[in-house]
Symmetry: C2
């Protein structure tokens, strides 16, 4: 059992979600697992960190022998505090999820699940975020676990380049119907927002964020295409947001001289 990798498991739904339990079950097959997850749901938190109040951590007994902690912060906070105050070192791998709901295409930007994985990647740690395209609490994680196992096995064996992490989404179909894995680019898709306007009992307006997801991308090399066609999608993601195309455009077309 020596030289087993240390694996940090986190998520954005909290420690009692079935999705994190599924991921812990897979992770314990590969290494020594620690769980540090938010103490409240953090969906849509993007890459938020907590600056204006202190954090607290509480040891929990929820996964048998696997050390597990709740943290009062965001998913990114969980990864930071896990390294500094719980593991006291960097894990070999950080896995986040399995999220109940898609984090494909533009959702990577809003995703608490992916922000935890990105925080680990910024710190030089191999990292993956997993999401199942099923929002329900009693979602079937059979296929998701099967593919999480394959992907964790590969990343421990072959790694990914520094500065890169993986955004893995699993379609909502029976495990036996999943056709395999596609390595994809992020589809050009977005939410078309409509706020649901209501009036409270005191006569003031308030607004619920709603919206519908629109895929503007007809490419067959995208995560949306893969998921719609029965494949697990893996998008390698980077936190260097530089648009080199943008640099070339500005150098060619902009002129600050004489102003």
């Amino acid at each position: 059992m020596e030289n087993r990798p240390v694996i940090l498991v986190t998520n954005d739904d909290g420690i009692i979600s079935p999705g994190i339990r599924a991921l812990v079950e897979v992770a314990t097959e590969f290494g020594d697992v620690y769980v540090v997850a938010p103490d409240s749901p953090q969906s849509g938190m993007g890459h938020a960190i907590t600056l204006d109040k202190p954090l607290r951590i509480t040891k929990m007994e929820v996964f048998g022998d696997v050390p597990a902690y709740q943290c009062s912060g965001t998913p990114a906070d969980c990864v930071k505090i896990a390294i500094d105050k719980i593991l006291h070192k960097k894990p070999d791998l950080c896995i986040s999820g399995i999220n109940h709901g898609s984090n494909s295409s533009i959702n990577v930007i809003y995703s608490g699940t992916m922000s935890a994985a990105m925080e680990a990647s910024i710190d030089g740690i191999q990292a993956i975020g997993f999401s199942l395209l099923d929002y329900s609490f009693d979602a079937d994680f059979t296929g998701a676990k099967m593919y999480a196992r394959k992907i964790i096995n590969q990343i421990l064996k072959s790694h990914i380049p520094s500065g890169t992490l993986l955004n893995v989404n699993i379609p909502k179909i029976p495990a036996a119907e999943i056709k395999g894995i596609k390595i994809c680019r992020q589809a050009m898709a977005k939410w078309v927002e409509e706020f649901d306007e209501r009036i409270d009992p005191r006569g003031s307006n308030y607004y619920w964020l709603t919206g519908r997801f629109v895929n503007f991308d007809h490419g067959e090399d995208t995560d949306e295409w893969a998921l719609n066609n029965g494949y697990v999608s893996i998008v390698p993601v980077q936190f260097d947001l530089t648009s080199h195309n943008g640099i070339r455009f500005i150098n060619k077309n902009w002129d600050f001289k004489g102003e």
Copy 2:
């Protein structure tokens, strides 16, 4: 005055910060300005959106004739609700800031200022986030305003490619000492976290996030280099996070067959 561009101004510090006032003053030289900003400080909010509670908007009288609203949500929420419920159309330009404090290099990931600009860019709107490397409330915005004016003039004239936004940082030096503008890539730098552990009056531990910023990047084409050498930095930023290098690596080195 016809055909003046519609400019949405927002930030993450709230409507009473001197930084947003400086940006409103510059913006009114160019177009018809609307201000929609958070009603509480939102630093470090990353690209968070509000899903679990409704939003409220309140009209404010703070910038004379310029219509201004406070919103109870995050910077990204402000942009979404401004388009759907206040402007009832997309503005020609969205500018966010001027932030009190740097959003250079990896800070783009954590930044509420940049998340507002990114939300506009996702919606197909030309967008810029401005930040001054001075955290103080009474920071001197003279140089920041001078360069905001140059950059807003250029983007209205020459635009930037779809899918791209600008991360502009201004050094904390007197306006006359700023050497000019550099178009840069995001430096490879990060925060090395250390949590400040304390004990509350009831004997429980709590942790404040602290850290020091470390630049691992020796390139002279980065935003950190530009700022340290007296230049305003412009990093063109994209919200397509796909790592094409990561795709090539995995296609070459990973093998899911036979598992």
